[in-house]
């Protein structure tokens, strides 16, 4: 079993410095991700100013109930994520494993819900880009709305899927007792990333489901 000292890479002075670097690194990564999504939100805002009526009409097509359910699922998963970090800090690794498993499951549930929602849209003729042929809202503005919808929620689920994979890795690390109450950077970083993905979803929820 590796000692705490052996975990310090030879170019770091000590574990504290290494942990601090890891945390700062993830925050910077999240900043770049925030800009990534912001660009799309800005594009959306630009088109919303051009096509206000079509955008409002199109927003009515997304399922309010489904949207609320997905939000509930993700918020719960974030709660479980935060709890798992707390458990590891308290040395309760077993509970933490269950909580992390819960996070992963909820993430997968979200992906499944999204898949059904997309399936329903596709069946109605709402495709992104050139394939769009939704009879109820044939206007250009609606087509742009739904193309952006697919792009933005699509980018989100790619990030969420990556998050689920990361949770899986962290779960495996936890089960092998690789964490200590003082040092568990992979868990912290994954936790931060998961919260970020959840926050992005909240903005998407507001824009695509609540603005009707």
């Amino acid at each position: 079993m590796r000692t705490m000292e052996s975990r310090v890479r030879d170019y770091f002075a000590d574990l504290a410095q290494q942990g601090h670097a890891a945390r700062l690194g993830i925050w910077l990564f999240l900043a770049s991700e925030a800009l990534l999504f912001s660009a799309l939100f800005a594009l959306f805002a630009g088109y919303r100013a051009t096509y206000p009526t079509e955008f409002r009409a199109a927003a009515g097509v997304t399922g309010f109930g489904l949207g609320a359910t997905m939000t509930f699922v993700l918020l719960t998963s974030s709660f479980l994520m935060a709890e798992s970090v707390e458990r590891v800090r308290g040395g309760r690794y077993g509970t933490a494993s269950w909580l992390l498993g819960g996070v992963a499951v909820l993430g997968i549930i979200f992906l499944a819900l999204k898949a059904t929602e997309w399936g329903r849209h596709l069946a109605d003729g709402i495709l992104p880009g050139p394939g769009y042929h939704f009879a109820e809202l044939p206007e250009r503005g609606a087509r742009i709305y739904f193309t952006l919808y697919y792009l933005m929620t699509g980018l989100h689920i790619v990030h969420l899927a990556g998050g689920v994979a990361a949770v899986g890795v962290v779960l495996a690390l936890n089960r092998r007792r690789r964490f200590t109450p003082e040092y568990h950077p992979q868990l912290e970083l994954t936790g931060l990333y998961w919260q970020f993905v959840d926050i992005v979803w909240l903005f998407l929820w507001a824009v695509f489901y609540l603005d009707r």
Binding site: P130, G131, H133, R140, R143
Partner: protein, 393 residues
């Protein structure tokens, strides 16, 4: 000098005027600027001279100071370690504040001029400019249309309404100091007032494909009487005007009066056989009549309502399997590869002329309408890339 710049004109005594004019000529020569053929050009050039003078002075100061320091403080002994120099922050602030106030002054003058360049005077004459790969078309509300040559009167403000049929172009006339992008799907405007008769060169200033370098226009500024005569159909004596003619426009001696584009369109339609199936007087025939067709809302074979616009017509000529007006047989052949963009423009102008709607007759292009579905060429047809490329090739 600032007053001169802002007003773009001289004031005061004749000697002062003469001095300013010599300065103008000198700077213009050194900087290789073309002649000032519009009312705004002089003021813009004076701002330019002001800025370039300040910049050169600053660059000279930097260069000379550096040279002086390098000579005076050149290392003479290897073990030379000069003592600390207390930085004079007030000196630094002074220099920077001085420079910055020049920058702000440049911006103030430039911005005022920019606003003036965009807001045309009340009595401006409107001209509609359409850029398309790779030509410029000009249409006048009460008059002929022309391809490749913009006719304007001297001494009267002209407001250009620019748009594009395909990709972004930009209409640039150096002698007038104007430039504005021609963007598909929207209209942009810019105005100018020509100050002397002549032939001027217009360029496309936004990369638009292989013909970008050759997408030139001639701008012919005519004395007011000659301009009126041209409006009424009398060709102007362009050969006698000063200026360089763009190479893709015929030389002045051979310049013939550009037929009204609509008449050209009638000839093109006859030549390509369109009039074998489309009547022009409302009588039913193999295809829909062109009388009052442009701009109308038609019901398609699948029940959809589509407006007959520039894009629709252009698209349809290339791809007759595209939305077809209900009640007619699908017998129209595709003209892809057989008809040039210029000819399509002419046909469209002809169709507009066959309308009784005043707005349509005025020559204004109509872009609004329901969304166009994607263009996927039928299997076996000409493999033009799916999408916009098929529209105007």
């Amino acid at each position: 000098m600032i007053g001169v710049v802002v007003q773009g004109a001289s004031g005061g005594s004749a000697r002062w005027e003469g001095l300013v004019e010599s300065l103008n000529r000198l700077y213009r020569k050194i900087l290789m600027l073309p002649e000032q053929a519009s009312t705004m050009a002089r003021g813009l050039d004076f701002l330019h001279y002001f800025e370039i003078t300040v910049m050169n002075v600053v660059a000279l100061v930097i260069a000379l100071t550096t040279l002086y320091f390098v000579i005076r403080y050149r290392r003479r002994r290897d073990a030379e370690y000069p003592p600390r120099v207390k930085p004079s922050i007030s000196f630094e602030l002074g220099v920077i504040a001085g420079l910055f106030s020049f920058f702000i002054l440049f911006w103030v003058i430039g911005f005022r001029q920019y606003v003036e360049m965009l807001e045309a005077p009340e009595d401006a004459l409107d001209v509609y400019v359409v850029g398309k790969q790779w030509m410029w078309q000009f249409a006048y509300p009460e008059g002929p249309a022309s391809v490749g040559i913009l006719y304007v009167p001297v001494g009267r403000p002209v407001r250009l309404h620019l748009t594009s049929r395909d990709v972004i172009h930009s209409f640039f006339v150096p002698e007038f100091r104007i430039k504005r992008d021609a963007v598909p799907g929207m209209y942009t405007t810019i105005w100018f007032e020509a100050t002397r008769p002549g032939v001027y060169l217009g360029f496309c200033a936004e990369l638009c494909g292989v013909g970008h370098s050759k997408m030139r226009a001639g701008v012919v500024a005519l004395r007011p009487e000659e301009y009126d005569a041209w409006l009424r159909g009398r060709p102007p004596m362009v050969a006698q005007l000063p200026g360089r003619v763009p190479p893709n426009i015929e030389a002045p001696t051979q310049l013939e009066y550009q037929q009204e584009l609509a008449l050209l369109g009638q000839e093109v339609a006859a030549r390509h056989g369109c009039l074998r199936c489309h009547s022009t007087d409302g009588s039913p025939h193999i295809g829909p009549t062109w009388y009052n067709l442009y701009g109308a809302w038609e019901t398609m074979a699948d029940g959809e309502r589509v407006r007959v616009t520039e894009q629709y017509i252009t698209r349809y000529i290339m791809d007759p399997n595209f939305k077809r007006v209900a009640g007619f047989e699908p017998v129209m052949p595709s003209f892809m590869g057989q008809i040039t963009p210029a000819e399509i423009a002419a046909i469209i102008e002809y169709m507009k002329a066959l309308s009784t709607e005043p707005e349509v007759r005025s020559g204004r292009a109509i872009f609004e309408g329901p969304p166009l579905p994607p263009f996927a060429p039928a299997p076996g047809t000409d493999t033009i890339r799916a999408g916009g490329a098929g529209r105007n090739r």
